[in-house]
Structure formats: structure tokens, C-alpha cells
Amino acid sequence: MRLVIRDNAATVADYVAEYIKERILQFEPSAERPFVIGLPTGSSPIGVYKRLVAYHRDGILSFKHVVTFNMDEYVGLPRDHPESYHSFMWEHLFKHVDIPPESVNILDGNAADLQAECERYEAKIASYGGIELFLGGIGPDGHIAFNEPGSSLQSRTRVKTLAYETIIANARFFGGDVSKVPKLALTVGVGTVMDAREVVVIITGASKAIALAKCIEEGVNHMWTVSAIQTHPRSLIACDDDATLELHVKTVRYFKSIEQVQDEMIGRENLGLYGQVAGPLRYTVIPSGN
């Protein structure tokens, strides 16, 4: 797992957007071989979507051969409701870019048979050969998608009852009226996310600090579902300084030192996207060694 620490939410968004853009471009997606990405909603990814839209507007990035799978959707909320995740994705990403509508996948929370809808979704993901990169955010309790504390780390796409705290937290989006907040959601499982060939999680703000510490400094634990990332072979957490408040100083220094070494001793130009040494080293500045 890599942990990339930036000053604030804006620079985290810069980093993640640049990263995703590079991943898509280097993948060289085509009609036969699209780039399949899992996408979140919520406050964390908004800055990333904004920057991806800018890349598209500037002609740098196309979504013609990108296929998306969203993490979750409320049950029973009209699709056109401003708080539906359909509306969120439309407003923040899809309306601005050239993605073909048939390449967009979001769980249908109004399906007659919710269980069948979840199975269909998993099968659809499988039909594309799985997800190349799953982007996520987390809740203050360390949940990813609607996989709240106690969710099986093997879980697949399914119907979930929302935790009472989540319902209360979401009431602010429904005029402060708890009774209007949907109580059920369809969500991909922790297993669905972890099956992706790469997982990228955005964690910003002091309110997520405990969750970050629990997820990376303690054991894999279903009470902090993002901790499952520890066993993933290719994972990246991008966080800001505020989110590191509960980490050990040692942890922060360790991950910062890795980037420092990469920057100062190896040189960015020698590194591939995953931080791997890309080939024979080509120094622009010869490292001094101290």
C-alpha cells in the first residue's frame, strides 16, 4: 500500500486526478479494451471530478472508451431526486464529458427485484473482466461505499440497511428531516472493491483522521472496512495533513520519506506511475548521497 500525503484537500484532488488521468492515458483504452473504473460519490471525489472535467475540456482526456461502475445508490429514491447518486454523477461528471451513456453503470435502487439487480451488477462487472481501478472515499467510521462497520470483508453487491449514524449524517441533504432519508441502499461489497486490480482511496479532513489510523495502523478488521486495503496488492491512499492527525509520527515520516527519496534520490523522471523504477536510471541531478 502506498500512502501519499499532501497539504490539503485541493492538492490531494490535484494528485488523484492527475494519477487517474495518467492511468487512463497509459492504459490506451479502446472500444475492445475499455478502461473500467469504479467511482464513488460524496464530498471527497468532487475535486477530482472537477479536475477530470477540466482535462476533458482541454482536450487532454477522453471518456469515450471508459466504462464506469458506481459504488452505490439509495433504494426507493427517484432517480431524478437531487440527492440520488445518479444526479450526483450526472452533475459532477457525466454531463461534462464525452462518456457514452451505455458505458455508465449505476445500481438501480428502484428495481423491482433488488437482489436480482445486485446480481446483474456483479455479472456486468465480470463481463468487462473486472474493474481496473476502483476509486473510493471513506466515512468517519471507516466505511467504504455503504459497507458500514461489521460488513463482511468478503461481501459482494447487495442490499444494505444504513447505520443510524449514516442516516442522521445524511439528513442534512434531505432538509434536516431524518424521515426523508432513505433507509436502504444498494452497494458494492468490500470484496467487489478489493477485486479491482487497483484501489485508490481519498481520505481528507480531520474528521477522517481516526478512520485513517484504524485502517492502516491496526489490523484488518471488519469494524473499519477500508482496512481490507492492507491485503490488496496494488493500493493507494491519498490523504491530506489533517487526516494524518491520529497517525503515529513514525507512520507519517515513513511515507513522506518514501516520496522524498523518490524525489530527491531517484528522480521523478525515473519512476513509473506506481512508484516503480521504470528503467535504467537517468539522473538529471546526480544525488549527493546525504
Binding site: 445518479h86 444526479s87 450526472w90 457525466f94 454531463k95 464525452d98 451513456p101
Partner: protein, 412 residues
Amino acid sequence: MPSISDPVTQFYNCRVLRGHALVEDSLYMQGGKIVDPARVFWDERRRPDVRIDCKGGIVSPGFIDVQINGAYGYDFSNDTAEIEDAVRNVSRGLLLQGCTAYCPTTVSSRPDVYRTVLPHLGPRAGSVENGAAVLGAHVEGPFISPHKKGAHELATLRTAARGLADFDACYGLENLRRHAAYVTVAPEVEGVLDAIPELIAATGVGVALGHTNATTDVVTRAHAGGAGMVTHLFNAMHAFHQRDPGLVGLLGSAGPRPFYGIICDGVHVHPHSVRIAYYAHPEGACLVTDAMSAQSLPNGRYKIGEMDVDVHGGHAYIQGTDTFAGSTATLAECVRNFIKFTGASQVEALENATLHPAQMLGIADRKGTLEHGADADVLILDAGLHVQRVFIGGVEATPDNVHVSEKKLPVS
């Protein structure tokens, strides 16, 4: 309703007038209506077929002029024999100017004129072929005050001592019901005040107050009786007086207040007066041209109703007098003037020529708005609010597909 087979057009790279703001967004239209792009995406699973680059411009609903007597040499009250030509050519000309819907306006006339003319001024849809949509006639007079007749011919003015029967005798109530959007009356004219509610009930037309010397008390009662609009505020009404502010004073009412037309050609109403009116009652402002037959034509001799009009310096006067006989302005000019006069925002100025007139006529669900489901009457304006492109019912109108024939005027 748009059909799924209709092509979808997207305006992009623009600021769209929506929700009382200019928002960076795109606008979709399909089958002659504004449509919800999210529905197109999710339900029809398609992307726009046609994309229009607005080059950073403003996308506004088409302008609506609720008071215009004629243009291109035609006069709706005088050209009784050629009234179809008048409507066709004025509609087309206005469309190219960015005015996508209007109320052709008649000055006080004899009853036979109404029988002849009104059937041609009733509502008709806008299109590249038809020109701007006709929203029904604005029948101005003849139940107005002889003291405030303006450019109306004294001999045509009438009273309504017999109430509704006099309105019927003058216009034909059925004629009003089918063809008129609203009528302008003076409430102090005998019989008018009491007849207003009956007139509305019998015909469904709107009632505006204008060409009047009425006191505050009388106009307040007329307003309570259903007269929801003031015709060309400040013109042809007695001046504001602090103890009896009259019709102008309705803008200061603590209760419900009327919509008001105001002519922003810079001469009918002093810019200071426009500013006072606007900041007294911003939600009621409707920009009107009150244009007459010389609009879009050179200076010279013209007609309004039976009256001769001299146009010089771009202004129209009753022959041999300094009485204004309508303007020669376009609504787009009025919008730009309005900003100059009042310092109002572009949003406010545009809504005064789109949303407010539509609300005044009770058609804001489909005109004067870019909400989903509204008619796709759309303008692209540059940053200075000059009209760049015009669309009606989703089709672009250009001089190539909209043909305007000016009336051949006798050499005077």
C-alpha cells in the same frame, strides 16, 4: 412532447439564464422543447446529435414584447386590408430581432376595425415560417381617458355606461375571448371599473390599466378587481403626486402589485424614472417597445391607426406635434438601455423581457423560461447582450430561412 426519435441539440460553452442566475451549464432541446439532459442521458441513453458552440455567450429565453403596434411599415390597426401580410412580416422581422413572442397591439379604433383585425391577431405558434409566436392581441383602448389619449384618435374613444354590453358592442366578447391576450382600459371611464371583473370572467382576457387620469383610489379598486398590469408606465397617466400617486403609485402598494410595461427607448421615459420604477417594484417590470410601423425603417411619414405620424431622428411623433406616437426601438435595444439606465444586472434586464412578460400573461410554464418542458425559443447573446443567434421551436432562424417583406409605402 418531444419524441424519442427527434434529434437532441445541445448548446454548450455558454452561461444559461436559469433560476434567476446565469449558470455555466449546457442547454438541451428536442422536438421544439427544452428538455432535461439527464433524462436524455439516462432514459434515451444517447448523447446530443447536434452541438452548438455558444462561444462563451449568454443563452436566454427569446424576448417577449407585450406591446407593439407594428413594424416594417405595417400597422396592426391601420392595415386592415393587409392584416395577414402585416402579421406575417412583423412576426418574421421580430423573430430575427430576437423577439420570439409578442402581443400585436391595436390603438383605439372603431368597432368594425376590431371585427376585421382581431381574428388575425389571435394566438398562433411561432416557427421559422410563421415568425415570432403571437400570444394574442393587446387591445389598447378605446375605453380610455380623452385627457390621456396620447396617440389615440379622440373620435374613437368610448365609455361603458352599459357595462359588459358596451365592451361586447365595441369588440365582440367572443372576439376578445378567442383572439386577445389583454385589453388596456382607463378605470375612471364611465362603467369601466365595475365591468372589469365581469369582462375577465366573460372572456378570460387580462386587463391592464393605462391612458388614464384615475386617482389612487380608483386604480387600487381596479387592481383589486383583477386588472393586473399597467400599460407603459409613466406615459399617458397623470404624474406622480405625493398625496395622490395615481396609477404610478400602485408600484408602492404594500399589497399585491401589478406588472407594468415600461418603454426603455430613452425618450418615452427618462432614465431616472425607469430607475425609480424598477427599484420600487423589480418583479413587475416588463420591457416593452411600443414600437410602431417605422420600426426597422428610415425616418419619414407613417401611420398609427388613422393618425399620421412623422418619424425623425428615430422618434415618432403625431404629425405636427411633439406627442409621441410609439417608439422605433427593438426589444433588444430596450434591454441594453435598461441596464444603462438602472445599473441592474444582465439577469434582471433579461428577465424583464422574458420571464416577467410571460408571468404577466400567465404562460411562464412555456415561454420566457428555459425550464425543462418550455418551448425552445432561445437566444444566444454576446456579453454586451447583442443578439447573435435566434432559435424558435428549436429551429434556428436566420435571414436565409426567414423572409421579411417591408410594406411598400407611398412616397410622401
